[in-house]
């Protein structure tokens, strides 16, 4: 999936089932081709800040949008969000929280930390596909990044 062209979506998700369903939903809607999946928060940060095994990414462009699960091994999604949004350069990357949780606290905390969008993954696959299409359309096609 790695290519020289710009990474369109960084998907941070530990559950392989969810990864598969998300990717299927994206593909089904023909939204993105360049998608990178990382299984935990630590790796997500290494990717974003070009560290560890992603050192070589130093000069590459930022992903156009980050789809971030909250419940992640090692570094949690909220921590990842906080670090990104505190970084003067990386903060402009749109971050969409894509999670099973509808916990009020999580929603409040995410927006406090500067999340761009908070989307609850519906259990119903058809609704899930709809949700992914909408977010893809918005963040990849309509939204303009400075």
């Amino acid at each position: 999936m790695n290519g020289s062209s710009q990474i369109e979506i960084l998907l941070v998700e530990d559950n392989p089932n969810d990864v598969e369903l998300t990717l299927r939903a994206l593909k089904k809607n023909n939204i993105a081709n360049n998608i990178v999946v990382v299984p935990d928060g630590e790796e997500a940060l290494e990717f974003i800040f070009a560290k560890g095994k992603y050192v070589s990414r130093v000069d590459e462009k930022e992903p156009r949008v980050i789809l971030l699960d909250l419940k992640l091994p090692k570094v949690s999604g909220l921590e990842v969000l906080e670090i990104i949004k505190k970084d003067p350069v990386k903060r402009k990357i749109p971050v969409v929280v894509l999670t099973s949780s509808k916990e009020e606290n999580d929603i409040i905390e995410s927006y406090r930390l500067g999340v761009n969008s908070y989307i609850v993954k519906p259990v119903d696959f058809e609704k899930f596909v709809d949700a992914v299409r909408e977010l893809g359309l918005y963040w990849l096609l309509l939204n303009q990044i400075p």
Binding site: L21, L70, S100, K102, F125, E126
Partner: protein, 708 residues
């Protein structure tokens, strides 16, 4: 004597002539009758001679002896006269009175020694021939003297006790008391005047002084501000009384003088009074305090002083009464209050002690002895360090020292260690007093022990609370982690099941017959039911977790907007909805909305199968509560199961009849409970249902901010 001398010769001659005559007449006849011889004639002559001679003899003898006796008597008289005359002169010269005598022309004939000295003469003889105007008296006074002389001589009467002035030759002014007596000759003719006077200057002065002092004393009695009276010590009668007594006792003077002193005494004191008067006879008695009774019956206390006097020839006492009623009352009150204070001090629970500047115990009450475990004898007169060796090294003592020197007060709590090793806690209030310092000590041992006990219990309680809180926090954390897991981890597999079932249907649909496709959709229905359950469970747990934000909630608006949310336009036509006025209430806006949501959605859900569904929303006002209710004419429920209405996962209808998780009413109940309200339901099978919830009316809604 002269008479005798004058008549005797005559009498003798007459007697002789009588005898001789008689003889001549009778002698011849006598002789012839007797026949006597002529011889007898001769003898007759001789006899006559003899008788006359004898007669002469006796007469002469008697006369001569009488003369001799008379002569002797004369001598004695002459001697007596001489003696009397010298005695008179002696008396004249030695009597203290002045004596003088004058002739009818007030020319001095003589005077005595005393007089001559007043007149400035060297001897009494020099007075003879002088008049008052020759003597050193002032002219006017001399005129008065002569006037008196004339009166006495003229009236021939004695003039006694003439009080008049006299100026001596030395110029001394005297007052004299003169008596002037007329002098008579043997024929009772007035021939002059005899004067006798006394120098009464001193007496006069004394008399005047006496009168003056009597007036003064009378005034002292009459005008004395203290009641005074005089009473007869034998009859007890009141003999005199002053104005102050009249004022004080209320009797008039006349009434007083009819009373005895027994009448102004209480009945019980009379015997004592009688005994007292009988026994005490001193000149002056300070007889102390007695009770007297006024005319109006009031009893007063008087201090009595009395003097023994003679009053109108009666044995009496002069009494002065000083009203000391108020003083006695004041003293009594003072004594009572002192007694009361003392007994209060003695008996009070607090220790009360006064320590002198030399650290000696001046006063301690019983409580101090009890607290110090020492007798009074062991404390009074001893210094603190003597009574409690080592006390001078204690913090408390330095505190006392400070108060003693700086004259400041202090309150301290001090633990006192006894010799026997035990100890007690005391609260000491220290005050500077004129004698030194005053310490009020309160035994607070029990309180201190109780405090310690409380402190220990509190510490224990706090430890337990901490422990319990920690446990609760742990449980809470676990619960939170659990719900967090539920919301994430239970959903993911559901999504996977649903998602992959869908993928199966999409990618491999040609491999499934109709039954296979139905089974896959059953799987997907269950995943969605499971998702609903999870959602409801999470919202139930959120009721407990959410922070309460109390505010005034407009219930009518809220109910209307919830209806709008729940009912689609199409559905609306099927329902007849009646929402009356609903009062505002104090509560959490979002939670109450949840209540309305659940109740209204239930009403809608269970009315749906019927035509002409009616839903009524209204309220009932009670004293402290407002009860809202929602009434439908839907399927209702079996009232036997009313108690199960609000249980979690409890359903009174099967899933095939009505969708649902059995959590909605449980949420309602929890929310209402958190508002300190009540919720209950009434229903009949196919007879509709009514759900009531009552909420307390809060006066100050914004103040009731609550958190879980």
């Amino acid at each position: 004597m002269k008479k005798i001398i004058d008549s005797l010769p005559l009498r003798v001659s007459l007697l002789y002539a009588l005898v001789a005559g008689i003889w001549i007449v009778v002698s011849d006849n006598l002789i012839s009758n007797l026949g006597v011889s002529p011889l007898l004639q001769t003898y007759k002559g001789w006899f006559f001679v003899f008788v006359t001679a004898l007669l002469l003899y006796f007469i002469l003898k008697k006369l001569i002896s009488r003369l001799i006796i008379q002569n002797n008597e004369l001598k004695v008289i002459e001697k007596e006269l001489q003696e009397k005359s010298s005695m008179l002169n002696y008396i004249l010269d030695n009597v203290p009175q002045s004596i003088f005598w004058k002739d009818i022309n007030s020319t001095y004939l003589g005077c005595n020694e005393v007089f001559s000295k007043f007149a400035g003469l060297n001897s009494p003889d020099e007075i003879i021939g002088k008049t008052d105007f020759d003597l050193p008296w002032p002219k006017g006074e001399a005129d008065n003297y002569v006037k008196d002389d004339k009166e006495v001589i003229g009236n021939n009467t004695i003039k006694r006790n003439i009080e008049e002035p006299l100026q001596t030759a030395e110029g001394k002014r005297l007052i004299i008391n003169t008596t002037k007596i007329p002098l008579h000759d043997s024929n009772d003719n007035v021939i002059g005047v005899l004067g006798v006077f006394d120098d009464i200057t001193d007496r006069k002065h004394k008399e005047e002084a006496l009168i003056e002092s009597e007036i003064r004393y009378r005034m002292l009695f009459e005008s004395n501000p203290h009641p005074m009276w005089v009473y007869d010590t034998e009859t007890f009668n009141i003999l005199a009384v002053n104005d102050a007594a009249i004022d004080k006792y209320g009797y008039t003077k006349e009434e007083f003088l009819k009373l005895t002193i027994k009448d102004i005494r209480p009945e019980d004191d009379i015997n004592q009074l009688i005994d007292f008067v009988a026994v005490r006879d001193e000149k002056k008695i300070d007889s102390g305090i007695w009770k007297h009774i006024l005319k109006n019956g009031k009893t007063i206390h008087v201090e009595i002083y009395s003097h023994k006097i003679d009053f109108e020839n009666k044995k009496a006492r002069l009494v002065l009464a000083n009203d000391v009623t108020e003083r006695i009352a004041a003293e009594e009150a003072l004594k009572n209050s002192e007694l009361r204070h003392r007994s209060t001090l003695e008996n009070m629970d607090e220790g009360y002690q006064i320590i002198g500047f030399d650290w000696r115990y001046i006063y301690v009450n019983d409580s101090v002895c009890r607290q110090a475990k020492k007798s009074r004898k062991e404390l009074i007169g001893y210094t603190m360090p003597e009574a409690f060796p080592g006390i001078e090294k204690t913090k408390m003592f330095s505190m006392l020292k400070n108060c003693m020197k700086q004259r400041t007060s202090a309150i301290i709590e001090n633990e006192f260690k006894y010799y026997d090793g035990s100890s007690g806690w005391f609260q000491l209030s220290i005050q500077p007093v004129p004698e030194g310092i005053f310490i009020l000590s309160l035994d607070i041992t029990e309180r201190k022990e109780a405090e310690n006990q409380i402190l220990k219990l509190n510490a224990e309680l706090e430890r337990r609370v901490k422990e319990r809180t920690k446990q609760l926090e742990d449980i809470n954390k676990e619960l939170e982690a659990f719900t967090y897991s539920v919301s994430h981890d239970l959903r993911s597999p559901l999504r996977a099941i649903d998602g992959f079932s869908k993928i199966l249907l999409e990618d491999y649909s040609q491999l499934f017959d109709e039954e296979g496709k139905r089974l896959l959709s059953v799987i997907r229905n269950n995943t969605s039911q499971m998702d609903l359950l999870i959602t409801d469970l999470l919202s139930l747990s959120r009721v407990a977790k959410t922070h309460f934000k109390m505010s005034v909630v407009n219930m009518k608006e809220m109910a209307i907007s919830v209806f709008e949310e729940i009912l689609s336009h199409k559905q609306k036509d099927r329902f007849k909805i009646n929402i009356t006025e609903l009062p505002e209430i104090c509560g959490d806006d979002s939670l109450l909305r949840q209540v309305w949501y659940n109740l209204i959605s239930n009403a809608v859900k269970y009315s749906s199968p019927k035509e002409n569904s009616e839903i009524e929303v209204s309220y009932i006002t009670q004293k402290d509560y407002i009860t809202y209710y929602i009434k439908d004419n839907g399927v209702g429920f079996n009232p036997d199961y009313t108690h199960k209405l609000f249980g979690v996962f409890q359903r009174l209808h099967s899933a095939s009849e009505f969708e649902g998780t059995g959590v909605g009413l449980a949420i309602v109940e929890r929310i209402i409970n958190r508002h300190k309200g009540k919720v209950w339901g009434e229903g009949k099978l196919n007879g509709g249902a009514v759900f009531y919830f009552s909420l307390p009316i809060e006066e100050n809604c914004n103040e009731r901010q609550q958190s879980n």
